[in-house]
Amino acid sequence: MRLLNEAQFRRIIADVFGPDIIVGGRFDPLVRSGGLLAVGAGKTSITGSSLERFDILARSIAGQVVAPVRRDWLIPCKPADATMADPECARAYFKSTGRLLYRRALTSEELETQVQIAGDAATNLNDFYGGLSASLAAMLTAPEFLFIVDTTEPDPNNPGQVRLTAEAMASRLSFFLWNTTPDDTLLTAAERGELHTTDGLKRQADRMMTSARFETGIRAFFDDMLAFDSFDTFEKDGLIYPAFSLAAANDAREQTLRTLVDLLLVKNRDYREIFTSRETFVSGALGLVYRVPVADPESWSRYMFPPDDERVGIQSQASLVALRSHPGRSSATLRGKAVREILMCQKVPDPPPNVDFTLVSDSANPIYKTARQRLGAHSTEPSCAGCHKLMDPIGLTFETLDGGAQFRTLENGEPIDTSGELDGIKFADAAGLGQALYQNPAVPSCVLNRLYNYATGRESNLGERDWLIEQEKQFADSGYKIPALVRRIVLSDAMYAITPADTQLSGQPGTREENPS
C-alpha cells in the first residue's frame, strides 16, 4: 500500500476532472527509502493534520467539479430536480467516476454508501449538486483513493497462493508507466481478465508505452531517482550567484528531465550516454547561467555543448552541480556523494557527529585557496579520510563549475585542478568522469534496480537477486535501452509478484482486503 505523492494526486485530478481544476495547498513531504520516494511512500502514514489538509483539498476539488461551469460535462446525468436528492443520477455518477478514483469498480456497498451520503447532504442542503460534492469529497479522502492498494486474490494457477488482482496490476502498470490512475481502457482490460494473460498484458503495455503519457511516467521516475525533490527546498545566495534565479532553478530540473526524455525515449540511446552526451536543452534563464545563446529565450531550445566545453553529461548540469552545492559555495563532497548515491546506488556513510567543517567551509582561506587544498587538509583526519576518498575524487572534477553552475578556471586566483578518479579509473576533467561513469558497471545496474523498485514500490529482496542479475545481462545485451528495459519489467512476473512481507490473501469474493505494509 503506497500513499499517492503530490504529482500523482494532481495528475489524477487533472485526468479525471480536467486540467483546469485548481489543486491548491501543499502536501507533506514523503520519506525517501532505498533511494526512492516511491518506496518511501509505502512506509508513510497520514497524520491527523495531513488528513485535515486532504479534507480541505477534497472539498475544494469537489466544489469545482460540481460548479455550474463544469457540471454539464463532468456529470453524465441531470437530476430530476436540482434542489433534491436524485439517487439514480448520483449512482450513475459514482459508478463511473468512483471507478477511476478507486482504480477499480466500486463494490455495491461502496456505491450505495456514496449515493447515501450524496442523498443525505442534498436533502439537508436542498441542492443535488451540493450533495454530490459532499460525497465526492468523502471519496477523495478515502484510503481507497489516497493509497495505491495491492489487493490480492487466490491464484487459480497456483492453489493455495495468491496473486495481485487484475485491478491492482492495472494500478501498478499505470503508476509506473504514466504516474497516474489507470484509464478506462486499462481498467476494462483488467475487468475482463486480460492482464492475467500474456497477450493481454502485452497489448496494454505496448499501448501505454506508445502513449504520450509514457514520457510523463519516465520523467516521474527520473525526478524521483535523481532526488529532484531537493529542489523544493533549494536556495542560492543571489548576491554570490546573481544569474542563478528561481527561474534558473526550476529550469535546471526541467533541463535534465528533457535531456533524459530526449536521449532515452525519443532517441532510444544507450542509458550510459547520458553521462557522455553534450546534447541538451536550454531556456533563457539557463542560457544566462551557462552563458550560451538560446534560439528562443521564451521557450526551450536544443543545444549542444562544444567538444572542449566542461559541460558533458547530465552530471555537469545545474541540476547536479548547483543542487549539490551549498547556497554560497560549491561542494565537491556533496557532488561526489550524489554521484555515488544517486547515479551508482552506493551508500556513503554519514559524517561522524564531531567533525569540524571549519576549514572546508572557509572558501576564502588565504592558505588553502582551492577546494582541493581545503579538502586535502580536512581529509588528513582519519575519521574523515575514508569517506572523502569515495566522494572527493569525483566531486573535485566539477570544481570548474561553481556553486551557481557557472564556469570558472580559478578559485581565489588559484588555477583549478579538475583531475579525479572513480573506482580506479583516473581522468583529467569532466569528460573523463563521464567516460568513467559510462564504463562503470554500477551505473546501469543502479538504474535497473531503481526502475524495478520504483515499479513495485518496494526494495527488491534477496530472492529477486538472480532475476535482477539476468535483467542486467539483458539490459546490456539490448544496448542499455531504457524502453526495452521498462518493457521487460512490466511484462515480467516479478513486477506483479507478491512477496511474503506484504502479502495477505483477500477475503471472500465481493469483499476486498488491503495488504498491510
Binding site: 548576491l239 533563457g284 552563458r291 545563446p293 538560446v294 529565450p297 549542444m304 562544444p306 564556469f407
Partner: protein, 374 residues
C-alpha cells in the same frame, strides 16, 4: 567567469548543425544597450550656463494669464494652482489656446538659455577644429573635451544642457532610462560580425537592432550579462556600419542608423545620420557594463517628433517648447538643406552602457551569437 567568444560561437554552430571550422573563420560579438543618456559636461555651479537655467513653460504660461484667470486658478490668491487644470492648460498658450508643443511657432517665447561653456563630450563629426561650415555641416561652435585633446560636436548638449529636467540624473532622461530597464522596451542591440582579432581587426561589420525580449536582472535589479535577445523582426531597424577594432575598441565609419526609442511611455525613433560607435570590446572584470559612446547627427524631424510629445514633463523639466524648437533650429549643424542652407540635423553624443549578450536572428537558420571575453 571566463569564456572565450570562439567557444561560444562554435557552440552555437554545433547546436545548429553547422561545422565548427566554418564558424571558426570569424566571430560574432553581441551587446545589449539597456542604458544611454546625452553626453553632457556639467559643473557644480552651472558655469556652462552663465545665463542661468532655461525658463520653464509654467513661468511663461503664468505670466501670460489675465488676472481674472489667475484669480480663478488660485481662488482669489488663496491657493496654488492645482495640477489637474494646470498641467493640461499650461501648454495651451497659443492665441486660440493651441498647444504650443505641437505648434511651436505659434508664439514667440524668450530665447532658450543654452550652454556657453568651452568643454563638452562627443566626437568630431565634421572633422574641423573651428566649426566652420563644410558641405555636410553648418557653421557652429565646437566644444573641446575636458582633457583638451579633441574638438567635438555636440549641439544637442548645447541645447539641453541648461534645462533643469535634462541635466544629469534629472527626470527627463533618468526616468526614461529606468522605464526602459523596467519594461525592456526600446532596448538596442549591437552586433559585431566578422571579428578575427578582438584587439585589432581592420574590418568588421556593426549592426544596430531592436529586440522585444526582456532584460534579465539579478536580485538587486542589475541587468545580467550573457542573456539571449532575438532581433526584432521588423525591417525598420538593423542598419549596418563598416567598422574596425583598434586597440580593443570597436569604432565604426559614419552610417545612417535608425535606433528604437522609448521613454515616458512613448515610442519613437532616433534617426541618427553619420552615426559612429566607440565601444571597448572588453568590459570590467566584475561583469559590469562596458561604457561606450554613440555620436552623430540626430535628424531634426525624428528628434522633434518625440520631444514635442514630452509636454507632460514641462512642469517637472522646466523648458518651453517654442523656445527649444527655435534654439534647436538655430543650433542644428548637420546636413544643410540644399535649397535653404538650413541644417536639418543636430550633432549629438550619447554615453551608452552595454553588456555582453547573445544576439540571435529568428528569421535565419543560423543564430549568430557572441559575447565579449573577459
Amino acid at each position: 567567469m571566463i569564456r572565450s567568444r570562439s567557444l561560444v560561437t562554435a557552440a552555437t554552430g554545433l547546436a545548429l548543425g553547422l561545422s565548427a571550422p566554418a564558424m571558426a573563420a570569424s566571430k560574432t560579438l553581441g551587446f545589449v544597450v539597456p542604458s544611454w543618456e546625452t553626453a553632457t559636461y556639467e559643473t557644480k555651479y552651472y558655469d556652462e550656463c552663465p545665463d542661468g537655467l532655461a525658463i520653464g513653460n509654467d513661468e511663461l504660461w503664468w505670466k501670460g494669464l489675465s488676472q481674472r484667470d489667475k484669480d480663478v486658478l488660485t481662488n482669489g490668491g488663496e491657493m496654488e494652482p492645482v495640477d489637474p487644470p494646470r498641467r493640461p492648460m499650461a501648454v495651451l498658450r497659443g492665441p486660440k489656446k493651441e498647444d504650443v508643443c505641437w505648434n511651436p511657432e505659434i508664439v514667440v517665447d524668450p530665447p532658450q538659455r543654452i550652454v556657453k561653456g568651452k568643454f563638452g563630450y562627443g566626437m568630431n563629426l565634421d572633422g574641423t577644429t573651428d566649426g566652420a561650415a563644410t558641405p555636410k555641416s553648418c557653421k557652429h561652435e565646437k566644444f573641446v573635451t575636458p582633457d583638451g585633446s579633441t574638438y567635438v560636436d555636440n549641439q544637442m548638449y548645447r541645447l539641453v544642457g541648461c534645462i533643469y529636467g535634462w541635466r544629469k540624473g534629472n527626470y527627463v532622461e533618468a526616468h526614461a532610462d529606468r522605464e526602459r530597464r523596467d519594461s525592456s522596451v526600446g532596448i538596442i542591440l549591437i552586433e559585431v560580425t566578422g571579428v578575427d582579432d578582438e584587439q585589432n581587426d581592420p574590418e568588421v561589420e556593426v549592426s544596430f537592432h531592436a529586440t522585444r525580449d526582456v532584460l534579465y536582472k539579478d536580485i538587486n535589479g542589475a541587468i545580467l550579462p550573457y542573456a539571449t535577445f532575438r532581433v526584432s523582426e521588423t525591417q525598420h531597424y538593423g542598419a549596418t556600419a563598416k567598422g574596425r577594432i583598434v586597440d580593443g575598441k570597436i569604432v565604426t565609419d559614419p552610417a545612417d542608423i535608425r535606433l528604437p526609442l522609448y521613454g515616458h511611455q512613448m515610442t519613437g525613433d532616433m534617426y541618427i545620420k553619420d552615426l559612429r560607435l566607440d565601444l571597448p570590446v572588453q568590459g570590467p572584470a566584475d561583469d559590469g557594463p562596458h561604457l561606450g559612446m554613440i555620436a552623430g547627427y540626430y535628424d531634426f524631424d525624428s528628434w522633434w517628433d518625440y520631444t514635442r510629445r514630452l509636454e507632460s514633463l514641462l512642469v517637472t523639466g522646466q523648458w518651453s517648447c517654442p523656445a527649444m524648437y527655435v534654439a534647436a533650429k538655430q543650433l542644428a549643424d548637420g546636413y544643410p538643406d540644399p535649397e535653404t542652407g538650413e541644417c536639418t540635423a543636430i550633432s549629438t553624443a550619447m554615453n551608452i552602457q552595454v553588456l555582453p549578450a547573445f544576439v540571435v536572428h529568428p528569421d535565419r537558420e543560423t543564430a549568430d551569437a557572441g559575447s565579449a571575453a573577459q
